[in-house]
Each structure stands twice: as C-alpha cells, then as structure tokens.
C-alpha cells in the first residue's frame, strides 16, 4: 500500500474541497457528540449512558483525526473505548443490583447543576470567543507519530516515567482497595 500517497492526498488540507469536507465532518461529529453527551447525562439507564459515552469518545477520536493527531485518536479509541468503557461496564455490572435502571435525580439538584453548567459554559465560552477570534487551524500535515515518540522520550521523559509509576500505583491501589478479605 502506498501510505505516503494516501497520506499525501489526505495531507493537502489547504484545498478548498478538503476544507469544506472537514467542516462538514466536524459539524456531524460535533452534533453527534453533543447529543450523545446530553443523552449520557440524562438517561436513566446506566448501560445506555455507558454506550452514549462510547459514542462521545468515538466522536472525540474522530475530532482528533480531523485535527491531524492520528496517534492520539487511535490511542483514544484503544484506551478509552477499549479499556475504560469496558471497565465502566464491569463496574456497572458489579454494582447493578443496588440501583437497577431507575435513577432519579431530584429536581433541585438538577437545576443547581444546570445553573452551574450554564455558568461554566458561559464563562469558558465567553473566554474562548473573546480570546481567539479568527484563529484557524491549518495543518500542513498530520503530526508524525515518530515525532510524538521522540518528544515523549526526550522532552517529556520525566512525566512519562511519572505516569508509568502512577499507573502502577493506580493498579496496585485499585487491587488493594477493592480486594475482598
């Protein structure tokens, strides 16, 4: 397979058709994501919520690829959807009996939460719009995985090692916390 050639076509992001296509893709993805997110936080069925989360995460992966961060996108799918959501499902399964499919948040709480949410949106949205004006994303080419690898293992080696330790700690911690004696 001619990867560079495929990439080449894909890389010319500055062409007008590509831009329109990107915008459309973005539009679809964002709508789907937002709807799925909304459904996720409102559905009473926990499993459905997990599945909606999958959609959101998948959408996020698509956004990453749209932005040229292929490695991150793939990692997102692999880790997030592949492991984390499964983890969630396990968790749901193990704690299902307690709550069942009925989940009722009281009105007061939802209003407060909505208020805070709106507040957050307003502040962050306002800030965003205010700050970045008409900055455009014009990637000449997607980011190279090798470049990411190089950066991780040279510039960000310490955080990398720290994260590994963190994962280890989390692993051990989770086992310790959740084991049955």
């Amino acid at each position: 397979m001619n990867v560079p050639a495929a990439l080449e076509g894909f890389d010319s992001l500055t062409s007008g058709d590509t831009v329109v296509a990107q915008n459309i893709a973005f539009g679809i993805l964002s709508v789907v994501m937002v709807v799925a997110a909304l459904r996720m936080v409102t559905t009473r069925n926990v499993v459905h919520a997990a599945l909606y989360l999958v959609i959101v995460l998948a959408g996020a992966a698509g956004i990453f690829i749209l932005l040229g961060a292929e490695f991150v996108g793939v990692t997102q799918v692999l880790v997030y959807i592949g492991a984390i959501v499964v983890l969630f499902l396990f968790g749901i399964m193990l704690t299902r009996g307690a709550l069942g499919e009925d989940e009722e948040a009281n009105t007061e709480k939802r209003r407060m939460a909505a208020l805070v949410g709106v507040l957050v949106l307003v502040v962050t949205g306002g800030a965003v719009l205010d700050s970045f004006g008409d900055a455009a994303v014009n990637r000449s080419a997607p980011s190279l995985t090798s470049e990411i690898g190089d950066t991780i293992f040279s510039q960000y080696i310490v955080p990398f090692e720290a994260v590994s330790v963190l994962l280890l700690a989390a692993l051990i911690g989770a086992i310790v916390v959740a084991r049955q004696d």
């Binding site: 994501m33 937002v34 997110a37 909304l38 996720m40 936080v41 989360l53 959101v56 995460l57 996020a60 956004i63 990453f64 932005l67 961060a69 991150v72 990692t75 880790v79 997030y80 984390i84 983890l87 969630f88 968790g91 704690t95 307690a98 709550l99 989940e103 009722e104 948040a105 709480k109 939460a113 909505a114 805070v116 949410g117 957050v120 949106l121 962050t124 949205g125 970045f132 900055a135 994303v137 990637r139 470049e147 990411i148 950066t151 991780i152 510039q155 960000y156 955080p159 990398f160 994260v163 963190l166 994962l167 700690a169 989390a170 692993l171 911690g173 989770a174 086992i175 916390v177 959740a178």
Partner: protein
C-alpha cells in the same frame, strides 16, 4: 476550520460533563461524566497543538488519557468498595460528613 469551533465544542462538552458530575446520583455515572470533562480538555489540547503545529499538546493529551485510565480504575475500585459496604452507590445517600 476555525480554532474556535473546536474550543467551543470542548466548552460545551465540558459544561455537559460538569452538569453530569453534579446531577447524577449513580457514582459510576459521575465517573463517566468526569471522563467527559477530560475528553473535552483533550479536544482543547489537541486543537491548540494543531494550531501551533507542535506535538506538545498531543503528548499532553496522551498523558491525560493515561491518567484518566488510572483514575477510572481507582475510582471504580472505590465505588465497588462503597457498594460492598452500603449496598448502594447512590451519592445522595452518602452524607456522613453532614454538618
């Protein structure tokens, strides 16, 4: 594509995630909402990285994904423990520290 649209998308997801954290009774759902927030942040970082044409943001996003995984693991372990002790993971029932 404007940067703003990505950032706005991230803001919306963030807001929804916040709403979810605050509104959901089920502990697991709260964790899921936290994932939503983290994803919003990821989108933000990657967008900025794309604008700058550097990989710093993407690396950061990778790290976030890793941390999120760790966090979910621990979080679910705690939820499990909670379930084991109280037979319920309804967060509204956990108010032992009520003043």
């Amino acid at each position: 594509m404007l940067l703003n649209q990505f950032l706005l998308l991230a803001a919306v997801l963030f807001a929804i995630g916040v709403y979810g954290v605050l509104a959901r009774r089920n502990g697991v759902l709260v964790l899921m909402s936290i994932e939503l927030i983290l994803n919003a942040v990821n989108i933000n970082l990657v967008a900025f990285s794309a604008v700058r044409e550097t990989v710093g943001g993407e690396v950061f996003a990778l790290f976030i994904i890793a941390v999120a995984a760790a966090e979910v693991g621990v979080g679910l372990a705690m939820v499990l423990l909670l379930y084991r002790n109280r037979r319920s993971i309804d967060l509204t029932e956990i108010d032992q520290l009520r003043g």
